[in-house]
């Protein structure tokens, strides 16, 4: 399900209907625009504003104290530790999967694509359960690993594993259509000129897909930092040990420390806003590059 992986905005503005038969009466137009603004205001803007209002309800000093509370600091640190690992691992996977799927025809290619989509459809709680059935005390591998002195369940390792599962599709799903659209002509040309695999990847493929890759990284990172359901199941939610930021929010909320919960939430909301800003920026760069390429092709064709 590609739209899930890439809810790509169209950039807007460029495609407004100019044909007479496509135009709606002015009052309908303004009514619908107003309805949209109302829906988005109520559904999206109001909650974002509320997060910050609640976080700062008792003043900046309390906010700062809430954020710098040791266990909260630890949860921020844990989230900042887990997310980069997950992103790197999924970038490597995404590159390999996109290369395999977009550059070769082989049996089972469609099944592979469907498997990559699977984490979209599976509930995070079920993912958590699955890993518990593997690594828990009664799990398939848990007792054996424990005899080797390795503990996965209720540990940071488990959080990394489930987060990797949940965010697995983002980079791959972003890269596959980009690489299919670009095609393999340039890479085949490089091979014919005697380039080896790494040279092709670093000099040809990577420059071509860099924006798609960055886009996938942004989405993957946002989801990794926000992962809650699966982490809640496998982490054991041990304060100061396996509590990531979303889990910290839940803990603070349940201990009736709402301002502290909202303080942590405000950081994650900033992350979401930052993600959107980056997304818009990457889309603008991509568009510019496409336009420049088109212009270059135009002037090139004139000769």
């Amino acid at each position: 399900m590609p739209p899930d992986a890439r809810p790509k905005s169209t950039g807007g503005g460029s495609h407004v209907a100019s044909r007479l038969a496509q135009q709606d009466p002015a009052f309908v137009r303004w009514l619908l625009i107003l309805a949209c603004v109302a829906v988005m205001g109520l559904l999206v803007v109001l909650p974002v504003v509320a997060v910050f209002a609640e976080a700062f309800r008792e003043g900046f000093a309390t906010y700062w104290a809430n954020i710098t509370e040791p266990d909260t600091i630890h949860s921020i640190g844990l989230t900042l530790f887990v997310a980069p690992i997950v992103v790197v691992v999924n970038v490597i996977f995404g590159l390999a999967a996109a290369w395999a799927i977009s550059r070769f025809q082989f049996r089972g290619r469609t099944i592979l694509t469907t498997m990559i989509d699977l984490p979209f459809a599976v509930s995070a709680v079920v993912v958590g359960l699955a890993f518990m059935l593997l690594f828990g005390q009664q799990g398939l591998l848990g007792p054996w690993l424990k005899s080797l002195g390795i503990e996965v369940a209720f540990n940071v390792t488990a959080i990394i594993l489930v987060t990797t599962f949940v965010t697995l599709p983002f980079v791959a799903r972003e890269l596959i259509p980009v690489m299919e659209a670009i095609g393999s002509d340039e890479e085949v040309a490089a091979v014919s000129l005697g380039a080896n695999g790494w040279q092709i990847f670093w000099r040809i493929t990577l420059p071509n897909i860099k924006w798609g890759l960055l886009y996938g990284v942004i989405l993957c990172n946002a989801r990794a930092m926000g992962e809650y359901g699966a982490a809640a199941v496998v982490s054991g939610r041990i304060e100061g040990k396996t509590q990531t930021m979303p889990l910290r929010i839940e803990y603070l909320e349940q201990s009736f420390n709402s301002p502290a919960a909202f303080a942590v939430a405000s950081l994650l909301t900033l992350l979401a806003i930052g993600t959107l800003v980056l997304k818009v920026w990457v889309e603008r760069l991509t568009r510019q590059e496409i336009q420049e390429a088109a212009r270059a092709a135009d002037t090139g064709g004139a000769h």
Binding site: A17, L46, A97, A121, L129, I249
Partner: protein
């Protein structure tokens, strides 16, 4: 497109395919297999007993019912938003367009936290709604509302490209044949969007059924009333009832697989239609 000849031309076939397969096997196949293995170790009677308790039935009803209602609402909102964003120009359009993705980027726990506080009796919205008898926090309605938020981007983003590439001559043809603007939109434009609407609907539904983080914050998790199926799994797990948890998880997993197959089918249909 990649051609069969590329297999020999481009390097890295064996490496990329085997790495992809290994990664997917370790991370996806083995854990999900563990679920099925545990489920299959139960007798049919045990399985049915675990899956079909009154509490579980109430949880399924809420999970599927609320997801379905939310997906229907999101189709309506998605149509409105996609139409306005593709067809009209107005100040602030860029911002509105990028805000559509916020539910996708915002951690679900944050969504749940803020929605529950907004619609609680003393919250910004709740102080007006609760006296009117509208309880949009710690209720079934709360589940629907938060799922509407979570699913918002999917229908819009599925519709936008299709609406953009819709042949303007279709609307002109309808106008020349004497159709009013209203008839043109309902009888010509919207039917051309059906496949995209269906895809967006299925995606929203899938997301809703699996959603956990935001719902546990807003629903109140009262057994038989506002408890969703994923929450039930977590509860069983915390009580170390792994068998019951696994059985319910199998039901959810089956629903996810079914939806995934439907969505894949729809996508392939659409790709074929486009060519």
């Amino acid at each position: 497109m990649a051609s069969l000849a590329n297999r020999r031309v481009l390097p890295g076939f064996r490496m990329s395919v085997s790495f992809t397969l290994m990664y997917l096997a370790v991370l996806i196949v083995v854990p999900l297999f563990a679920v099925l293995l545990r489920a299959s170790s139960m007798t049919t009677a045990d399985f049915v007993r675990a899956v079909w308790t009154p509490q579980a039935r109430a949880a399924y009803a809420l999970t599927f019912g609320a997801s379905l209602i939310a997906a229907v609402i999101d189709v309506g909102l998605g149509l409105l938003l996609a139409w306005v964003l593709v067809r009209y120009d107005f100040p602030g359009k860029r911002i509105l367009d990028s805000l559509i993705d916020l539910p996708f980027a915002l951690p679900t726990a944050v969504a749940g936290l803020v929605y529950s506080s907004l619609y609680a009796p003393k919250g910004w919205m709740g102080q007006f709604l609760v006296p009117l008898g509208i309880h949009a926090a710690y209720s079934r309605l709360a589940v629907v509302v938060v799922l509407v938020f979570i699913g918002l981007p999917f229908v819009v983003r599925a519709l936008e490209p299709v609406l953009e590439s819709l042949d303007p001559e279709l609307e002109e043809a309808a106008a020349c044949l004497g159709a009013s603007r209203w008839t043109t939109v309902w009888c010509v434009v919207i039917p051309h969007l059906y496949p995209a609407i269906l895809t967006g609907f299925a995606l929203t539904l899938a997301r809703g059924i699996g959603e956990y983080g935001s719902v546990v914050f807003v629903s109140g998790n009262k057994p038989f009333q506002t408890e969703i199926a994923p929450y039930l799994i977590v509860q069983k797990l915390e009580a170390f009832q792994y068998k019951e948890a696994t059985a319910i998880a199998t039901v959810l997993l089956a629903a996810s697989f079914a939806l995934l197959i439907v969505i894949n089918f729809l996508e392939r249909q659409r790709a074929r239609h486009a060519t």
